[in-house]
Symmetry: C2
Subunit: 206 residues, 2 copies
DNA sequence: CCATTTACCTAACATACGTTAGTTAGGTGA
DNA sequence: TCACCTAACTAACGTATGTTAGGTAAATGG
């Protein structure tokens, strides 16, 4: 996650800002302020260029937003894939789920402005932009469903839980964290463990 | 929840629209379309009056939004209080939590445009409007914390779970439902039971 | 060396927004 | 009856927004 203290980049651009530069700034601003509060002029100013210059790199504001949304899912998807891939082959169901939860939460809270921007602004952007993001989303959702189904077939998960519903509940809960997470009250790592504990074993004493 | 099919009210107003009429329409539109997509002119048209007439009832757009936000929390708070109040005095911890979860979800998904609008647009409105909603929110949060603390002291909940964190996770998960709930795939009642099952007992087979 | 491309710039436009000023028709109470 | 209040109205203003047209300086490459 990029530095958050100042909203403007160095005044004398030693090199060109470029498409990626604009995109990085846009993702950060969207994460911090939401969709409606971020105009092209704000993005441009934070990037150190003029609003109209953005049109050299993008055809419209929607195109920027769409790029941010897609990159956001790609980032969290890659984070999860990686976390699963590095596990030993004999890793148990519980540990696998813990790893996936940790990867999702880490991408959201610590790594990617794109992922957090996606979660924050998805519900605020025009329908057409949302629709454009759906294929990418579905691929990520499929990855989760595959993981959860595997665990269920192993007998680790209860037979009667609906995989799709469980995935929606779990990712929904994790994403909601973005609205209240405060690193001063505990690390993302610790929070991730708590999520896993609650979803795996519940909160009832026994 | 009001009728959703048509966005305009009867053309010949037999009676005045009034402050509440404007508010009801605003809540519905905010729930359906989010904050940024709903202008005063849209609210006015859907209510059957002109945009400037809104200023007879409200001093600014922010004032409307603030009123919707507060009413949204009041509604879900009242729903929860009611659900707890009607329980027999000898009701167990588990049943009490189930009732609270059900009340929250019902208000969100079936009863109140105000509550769903609150969840949908809170993260999109200007900071000052958000701040104005905080006291009302805190009262509702305190109610949850009181309930959860009581259950924990009874020994029903695990001793080591942090109440504040648990409340944030639980309400966050419930609120996220708004983004994907589809009554055709199962009732809010059934979904509420699933939430309770997962949070109380977890998903692991044992 | 010069033509072309890259990455920006200035200036402006139309549109949509929240908001204000001043007006009006219909009901209410003295 | 008539003054007043209620709940609207018409018209307009300033501002911010996404976007377009046309220009420019520096790097690139044959």
């Amino acid at each position: 996650m990029a530095d958050t203290t100042v909203s403007k980049v160095s005044d004398t651009p030693r090199t060109s800002v470029g498409r990626d530069g604009v995109l990085n700034v846009a993702a950060r601003l969207f994460r911090e302020q939401g969709y409606g509060a971020v105009s092209l002029r704000k993005i441009a100013e934070a990037a150190g260029i003029k609003a109209s210059s953005i049109y050299y790199h993008f055809g419209s504001k929607d195109e920027i937003v769409a790029a941010v949304l897609d990159a956001g899912i790609e980032a969290v998807h890659e984070s999860m894939r990686q976390a699963i891939a590095v596990l030993p082959t004999d890793t148990g169901a519980e540990a696998a789920l813990r790893a996936a939860i940790g990867a999702h939460l880490r991408a959201l809270l610590e790594v990617s402005d794109y992922s957090s921007a996606n979660v924050r602004i998805f519900g605020q952007v025009p329908q057409s932009v949302r629709d454009a993001n759906l294929p990418t989303r579905r691929a990520y959702e499929a990855e989760w469903d595959a993981l959860l189904s595997r665990l269920q077939k192993n007998g680790a998960l209860q037979r009667d839980v609906d995989i799709r519903r469980l995935r929606l509940m779990l990712i929904g809960a994790l994403n909601a964290t973005l609205e209240w997470f405060d690193p001063d009250r505990g690390s993302a790592e610790a929070l991730s463990r708590t999520y896993a504990d609650v979803f795996l074993n519940g909160i009832l004493e026994r």
